[in-house]
């Protein structure tokens, strides 16, 4: 009997202790391993730097932030188990996941346990399911596809355009939107194809593109496949211009595709490295030998977003945080963030970029 009371007492103490004295656990999740691991690496570097900076300034509501890292390898099943682990660890905020196909199933778990999320996944479904806990700091594929498709229709008038995807939630969603945007401008795609991601041989697709006289490929998917397609197109004597989405920001594309990468266009939010207000942070990253490309600054911004929302709400309770996020406006390294009723970024502002000599920049008009 005495033992039981003692145990109950310790349990209660532990619970109180957890509430009152622990640091705030915040988490990131994404492909830390697997073929898209370089994106996970960017997220981790951005988040680590942000947390170090926030903690150096005294943390959030007087308490330090501690980072948890989840690895979903872009596998939807693993994403759900990562989500469950994170829920058990009692995190108060999740920046992730990265692949839309991981974010969608995982967000149901976080929603059930009332954990706030900020994601960079771009598939419209992420915010279209009426979940209150999820906010998107990136744009959506339909906005992205509209910009990409519109640009292709205007710039490559009279040329044959194929639309290809990799069957992933992100890739297919983006490709569908690009096709829709093209058709909206009266351009009928010459080919609509899907490939299997993770293979090495796309010569079948390349020959098909070549025989159809395609010069431009609008592609929904990840950079690894684009690099292979470009290389094989070059081998087959086909000059191909590719229009992709935000995943083409990865420098691996250039190492893998070589000079052919200069034919890659893509849409991405305005480059945070060009944001004058973020110049200090950019310099800090570069001093630490981290190039703040791709998702680095987004991860940094996500952590700032949480810190500011918590300060405004004066609480890290889910209800208060959610209210603060929905109503507020936040100053981050990627610019001002505010959200609409669905949780989408109000001002995503996609731009068309082009790779040129191993660097990307806004496309020359």
């Amino acid at each position: 009997m005495g033992k039981k009371i003692l145990l109950a007492g310790i349990g209660a103490l532990a619970m109180f202790g957890g509430q009152a004295y622990a640091d705030h656990l915040v988490a990131i999740a994404g492909p830390m391993t697997g073929q898209y691991a370089s994106a996970g690496d960017q997220i981790r570097k951005g988040a680590e730097m942000a947390i170090a900076d926030i903690n150096a300034k005294g943390g959030v509501l007087g308490q330090k932030l501690v980072l948890e890292v989840g690895d979903d390898a872009c596998d939807p099943k693993q994403a759900v188990s990562v989500a469950n682990t994170m829920v058990n660890k009692k995190i108060v905020f999740m920046h992730g996941h990265w692949c839309s196909s991981s974010t969608i199933p995982a967000s149901d778990v976080y929603n059930e346990s009332q954990i706030l999320m900020a994601t960079v996944s771009t598939n419209p479904k992420v915010t279209e399911r009426g979940l209150k806990n999820i906010f998107r700091i990136m744009g959506r594929d339909d906005q992205q596809g509209l910009v990409a498709g519109g640009y292709l229709a205007d710039t490559f008038k009279g040329k044959k355009i194929a639309v290809v995807d990799d069957k992933s939630a992100y890739g297919k969603g983006l490709a569908d939107e690009m096709a829709k945007a093209l058709q909206g401008k009266g351009v009928k795609p010459a080919l609509r194809e899907s490939i299997t991601a993770g293979e090495k041989d796309y010569s079948g697709l390349v020959s098909k593109l070549k025989s159809a006289g395609v010069e431009v490929m609008a592609y929904g998917g990840y950079h690894t496949e684009v690099a292979l397609i470009l290389r094989q197109a070059q081998q087959a004597g086909l000059k191909l211009t590719v229009m992709g989405g935000d995943t083409m920001t990865n420098t691996e594309l250039v190492t893998a595709a070589g000079p052919a990468a200069d034919n890659v266009l893509f849409t991405f939010s305005p480059d945070p490295r060009k944001n004058p207000a973020a110049a200090d942070i950019v310099k800090k990253f570069r001093d630490a030998k981290v190039e703040p490309e791709g998702y680095v600054m987004y991860a940094y911004a996500a952590m700032q977003l949480f810190a500011q929302a918590a300060e405004q709400a004066k609480s890290v309770k889910y209800g208060d945080l959610e209210k603060a996020m929905r109503g507020g406006s936040f100053d981050t390294v990627i610019g001002k963030l505010s959200f609409d009723a669905k949780g989408d970024n109000k001002l995503p502002g996609f731009m068309v970029y082009q790779w040129m000599g191993g660097k990307y920049d806004y496309v020359a008009k």
């Binding site: 370089s38 490939i195 299997t196 079948g204 020959s207 098909k208």
Partner: protein
């Protein structure tokens, strides 16, 4: 016409690579009756050795492509066969004589181990090498489409043919080949005749690994991009090729590889690239329904 020719070329090149890997599966199955699931990862390891080799040679200022290719090929075959030997010695030999499932599970474990080892030591990032052999011959032009046979495709097919010739000679004409075939038929009897069965099995693994090594080098040269995960897809396809041709049969493995390569090329051209894998596996199911031991496989006869 030119388009069909182009897909024939693409299919044969891809099929040659699948076939080379498939032989490793089929040989191991033939001799110890297990599927070596780590074989795809052995191929991946050789691709990494090739990338390292090419990068080092470039760093030392070697510019002659044939020389670099030859050196890398030899180095990759040597190192990879050591891997093949080590995998057999560590993961399969201690389990010989236990249940049939034990080495299978051990093989899956070995596959996961190799993938993670390469990921940890080499990083998860894609490792590319710049294109080495560019250019090709325009073979045929019809309806504005030019079929192109690239030099690297010629090289892959030539190397495969040469390798297969050497390999057939090794199995049918040498004393090692005879021992190997004897072990396939009856291991106990072979041991009674004074042949070192363990040694023969080790050599079989090394031989399978060296064929996979050649495939790895060829793929690295042709596609130019390698990551720690390539062994999985290639392994599944090659395993399918081995089963399609009749597992245990060496010509069957090559035939299966070529058939799968051709199906993939033609299907993705005339129908849709989306359902390419569906086509491959449907044909596998169809073949197995009518010929359960594969195209060239012999059914196991159990004597009563």
């Amino acid at each position: 016409m030119a388009l069909a020719l182009q897909q024939l070329i693409n299919g044969l090149t891809l099929g040659a690579v699948y076939g080379l890997i498939a032989i490793g599966y089929t040989m191991v199955y033939g001799i110890i009756g297990m599927i070596n699931f780590a074989h795809g990862d052995i191929y991946m390891v050789s691709a990494f050795i090739a990338v390292t080799g090419f990068t080092l040679l470039t760093a030392f200022g070697v510019t002659s492509v044939p020389f670099a290719l030859l050196v890398v090929l030899i180095v990759a075959v040597l190192f990879t066969s050591v891997y093949g030997w080590a995998v057999e010695r560590l993961a399969y030999r201690p389990l010989r004589g236990s249940t049939r499932l034990a080495p299978l599970i051990s093989a899956i474990g070995m596959s996961i181990f190799l993938q993670n080892m390469v990921q940890l030591t080499q990083g998860a990032r894609v490792k590319p090498i710049p294109p080495m052999i560019t250019g090709g011959i325009d073979v045929l032009t019809t309806d504005g489409f030019t079929a192109r046979l690239s030099y690297s495709q010629i090289l892959i097919v030539l190397v495969t043919v040469a390798l297969l010739a050497a390999f057939t000679w090794l199995i049918t004409r040498t004393s090692f080949g005879r021992q190997q075939r004897a072990c396939e038929q009856d291991r106990t009897m072979t041991a009674l005749l004074g042949i070192d069965v363990d040694r023969t099995i080790s050599l079989t693994f090394m031989l399978g690994a060296s064929l996979a090594a050649v495939a790895g080098v060829m793929v690295t040269m042709y596609y130019g991009v390698v990551d720690f995960y390539i062994g999985f897809v290639a392994g599944i396809k090659a395993f399918t090729a081995a089963v399609l041709g009749g597992i245990g049969s060496l010509p069957g493995a090559m035939l299966g590889g070529l058939i799968i390569g051709l199906i993939e090329a033609f299907w993705s051209n005339y129908l849709s690239a989306e359902y390419k894998d569906v086509a491959t596996f449907s044909i596998l199911i169809l073949v197995l329904m009518f010929r359960p031991s594969g195209l060239l496989g012999r059914p196991e006869v159990e004597k009563v």
